[in-house]
Symmetry: C2
Amino acid sequence: MEIADWRKKIDELDQTLLELLNKRANYSLEIGKIKKAAGMAVYDPKREEQIFLRLAQLNNGPMSDQAVRRLFERIIDESRHIEKEMMKAKGKKS
Amino acid sequence: MEIADWRKKIDELDQTLLELLNKRANYSLEIGKIKKAAGMAVYDPKREEQIFLRLAQLNNGPMSDQAVRRLFERIIDESRHIEKEMMKAKGKKS
Protein backbone atom coordinates (compact mmCIF):
# COMPACT_ATOMS: atom_id res chain seq x y z
CA MET A 1 0.00 0.00 0.00
CA GLU A 2 1.12 3.52 -0.77
CA ILE A 3 0.90 6.71 1.30
CA ALA A 4 -2.30 7.80 -0.53
CA ASP A 5 -3.98 4.49 0.38
CA TRP A 6 -3.13 4.80 4.07
CA ARG A 7 -4.28 8.41 4.04
CA LYS A 8 -7.62 7.36 2.60
CA LYS A 9 -7.99 4.87 5.45
CA ILE A 10 -7.05 7.58 7.96
CA ASP A 11 -9.60 10.00 6.46
CA GLU A 12 -12.37 7.41 6.77
CA LEU A 13 -11.33 6.64 10.32
CA ASP A 14 -11.17 10.35 11.23
CA GLN A 15 -14.76 10.82 10.10
CA THR A 16 -15.86 8.04 12.45
CA LEU A 17 -13.70 9.47 15.25
CA LEU A 18 -15.27 12.90 14.75
CA GLU A 19 -18.79 11.44 14.97
CA LEU A 20 -17.96 9.45 18.10
CA LEU A 21 -16.24 12.41 19.77
CA ASN A 22 -19.31 14.57 19.13
CA LYS A 23 -21.53 11.78 20.43
CA ARG A 24 -19.40 11.56 23.56
CA ALA A 25 -19.69 15.32 24.04
CA ASN A 26 -23.48 15.01 23.83
CA TYR A 27 -23.54 12.26 26.47
CA SER A 28 -21.34 14.39 28.64
CA LEU A 29 -23.70 17.35 28.22
CA GLU A 30 -26.61 15.15 29.35
CA ILE A 31 -24.72 14.25 32.53
CA GLY A 32 -23.96 17.94 33.01
CA LYS A 33 -27.68 18.78 32.84
CA ILE A 34 -28.56 16.15 35.45
CA LYS A 35 -25.74 17.33 37.71
CA LYS A 36 -26.75 20.96 37.36
CA ALA A 37 -30.38 20.18 38.18
CA ALA A 38 -29.22 18.27 41.27
CA GLY A 39 -26.76 21.00 42.32
CA MET A 40 -23.81 18.62 41.92
CA ALA A 41 -20.27 19.65 40.93
CA VAL A 42 -19.46 19.06 37.23
CA TYR A 43 -15.82 18.11 37.84
CA ASP A 44 -15.44 14.61 39.27
CA PRO A 45 -11.77 13.62 39.55
CA LYS A 46 -12.63 10.14 40.91
CA ARG A 47 -14.72 9.29 37.85
CA GLU A 48 -11.94 10.56 35.57
CA GLU A 49 -9.38 8.34 37.29
CA GLN A 50 -11.73 5.37 36.78
CA ILE A 51 -11.91 6.20 33.08
CA PHE A 52 -8.10 6.36 32.74
CA LEU A 53 -7.59 3.15 34.74
CA ARG A 54 -10.13 1.27 32.66
CA LEU A 55 -8.64 2.51 29.39
CA ALA A 56 -5.14 1.51 30.51
CA GLN A 57 -6.46 -2.00 31.17
CA LEU A 58 -8.09 -2.13 27.73
CA ASN A 59 -5.15 -0.60 25.87
CA ASN A 60 -3.28 -2.91 23.49
CA GLY A 61 -1.12 -0.22 21.90
CA PRO A 62 0.68 1.02 19.92
CA MET A 63 -0.24 4.06 22.03
CA SER A 64 1.24 3.96 25.51
CA ASP A 65 -1.11 4.18 28.52
CA GLN A 66 0.34 7.66 29.12
CA ALA A 67 -0.52 8.74 25.58
CA VAL A 68 -4.06 7.36 25.99
CA ARG A 69 -4.42 9.23 29.25
CA ARG A 70 -3.19 12.49 27.70
CA LEU A 71 -5.65 12.13 24.80
CA PHE A 72 -8.65 11.36 27.00
CA GLU A 73 -7.76 14.16 29.40
CA ARG A 74 -8.02 16.47 26.43
CA ILE A 75 -11.28 14.86 25.22
CA ILE A 76 -12.88 15.26 28.66
CA ASP A 77 -11.53 18.77 28.92
CA GLU A 78 -13.08 19.80 25.59
CA SER A 79 -16.47 18.48 26.79
CA ARG A 80 -16.26 20.65 29.87
CA HIS A 81 -15.33 23.57 27.65
CA ILE A 82 -18.49 23.12 25.50
CA GLU A 83 -20.61 23.09 28.63
CA LYS A 84 -19.12 26.38 29.78
CA GLU A 85 -19.60 27.96 26.34
CA MET A 86 -23.25 26.85 26.27
CA MET A 87 -23.92 28.27 29.72
CA LYS A 88 -22.33 31.55 28.67
CA ALA A 89 -24.49 31.65 25.50
CA LYS A 90 -27.62 30.94 27.59
CA GLY A 91 -26.68 33.72 30.01
CA LYS A 92 -26.43 36.21 27.13
CA LYS A 93 -29.85 35.24 25.76
CA SER A 94 -31.76 35.66 29.03
CA MET B 1 -31.77 8.23 31.99
CA GLU B 2 -29.59 8.63 35.07
CA ILE B 3 -25.91 9.56 35.37
CA ALA B 4 -24.93 5.86 35.67
CA ASP B 5 -26.71 5.06 32.38
CA TRP B 6 -24.94 7.86 30.49
CA ARG B 7 -21.63 6.80 32.00
CA LYS B 8 -22.17 3.25 30.79
CA LYS B 9 -22.75 4.63 27.28
CA ILE B 10 -19.60 6.76 27.59
CA ASP B 11 -17.55 3.73 28.74
CA GLU B 12 -18.69 1.71 25.74
CA LEU B 13 -17.94 4.60 23.42
CA ASP B 14 -14.50 5.14 24.99
CA GLN B 15 -13.56 1.53 24.32
CA THR B 16 -14.38 2.03 20.62
CA LEU B 17 -12.52 5.36 20.59
CA LEU B 18 -9.46 3.69 22.12
CA GLU B 19 -9.49 0.96 19.46
CA LEU B 20 -9.88 3.47 16.63
CA LEU B 21 -7.17 5.75 18.00
CA ASN B 22 -4.76 2.81 18.19
CA LYS B 23 -5.76 1.79 14.68
CA ARG B 24 -5.09 5.33 13.48
CA ALA B 25 -1.67 5.26 15.15
CA ASN B 26 -0.87 2.03 13.30
CA TYR B 27 -1.86 3.54 9.94
CA SER B 28 0.28 6.53 10.73
CA LEU B 29 3.23 4.27 11.56
CA GLU B 30 2.82 2.57 8.17
CA ILE B 31 3.04 5.96 6.45
CA GLY B 32 6.09 6.75 8.58
CA LYS B 33 7.82 3.56 7.39
CA ILE B 34 7.17 4.40 3.72
CA LYS B 35 8.39 7.98 4.22
CA LYS B 36 11.51 6.83 6.02
CA ALA B 37 12.36 4.32 3.30
CA ALA B 38 11.94 7.09 0.70
CA GLY B 39 13.94 9.62 2.72
CA MET B 40 10.89 11.90 3.07
CA ALA B 41 10.18 14.23 6.02
CA VAL B 42 7.68 12.82 8.53
CA TYR B 43 6.10 16.18 9.33
CA ASP B 44 3.78 17.40 6.58
CA PRO B 45 1.98 20.61 7.59
CA LYS B 46 0.03 20.76 4.30
CA ARG B 47 -1.49 17.33 4.87
CA GLU B 48 -2.39 18.30 8.44
CA GLU B 49 -4.18 21.45 7.25
CA GLN B 50 -6.15 19.31 4.79
CA ILE B 51 -7.19 17.04 7.66
CA PHE B 52 -8.37 19.98 9.81
CA LEU B 53 -10.22 21.61 6.89
CA ARG B 54 -12.00 18.39 6.00
CA LEU B 55 -13.00 17.73 9.61
CA ALA B 56 -14.35 21.28 9.97
CA GLN B 57 -16.52 20.65 6.90
CA LEU B 58 -17.79 17.37 8.34
CA ASN B 59 -18.31 18.70 11.86
CA ASN B 60 -21.92 18.93 13.06
CA GLY B 61 -21.10 19.74 16.68
CA PRO B 62 -21.60 20.07 19.57
CA MET B 63 -17.81 20.40 19.44
CA SER B 64 -16.66 23.60 17.76
CA ASP B 65 -14.33 23.38 14.75
CA GLN B 66 -11.61 24.82 17.00
CA ALA B 67 -12.16 22.08 19.58
CA VAL B 68 -12.03 19.43 16.83
CA ARG B 69 -8.81 20.94 15.55
CA ARG B 70 -7.24 20.96 19.02
CA LEU B 71 -8.18 17.31 19.57
CA PHE B 72 -6.86 16.12 16.21
CA GLU B 73 -3.66 18.14 16.61
CA ARG B 74 -3.12 16.15 19.79
CA ILE B 75 -4.04 12.84 18.14
CA ILE B 76 -1.57 13.47 15.29
CA ASP B 77 1.05 14.64 17.76
CA GLU B 78 0.76 11.45 19.82
CA SER B 79 1.29 9.37 16.65
CA ARG B 80 4.49 11.23 15.92
CA HIS B 81 5.54 10.65 19.52
CA ILE B 82 5.09 6.86 19.18
CA GLU B 83 7.21 6.88 16.05
CA LYS B 84 10.03 8.67 17.86
CA GLU B 85 9.81 6.28 20.82
CA MET B 86 9.98 3.27 18.49
CA MET B 87 13.02 4.64 16.68
CA LYS B 88 14.73 5.27 20.02
CA ALA B 89 13.93 1.71 21.16
CA LYS B 90 15.33 0.34 17.87
CA GLY B 91 18.47 2.41 18.29
CA LYS B 92 19.06 0.94 21.74
CA LYS B 93 18.70 -2.65 20.48
CA SER B 94 21.22 -2.36 17.62
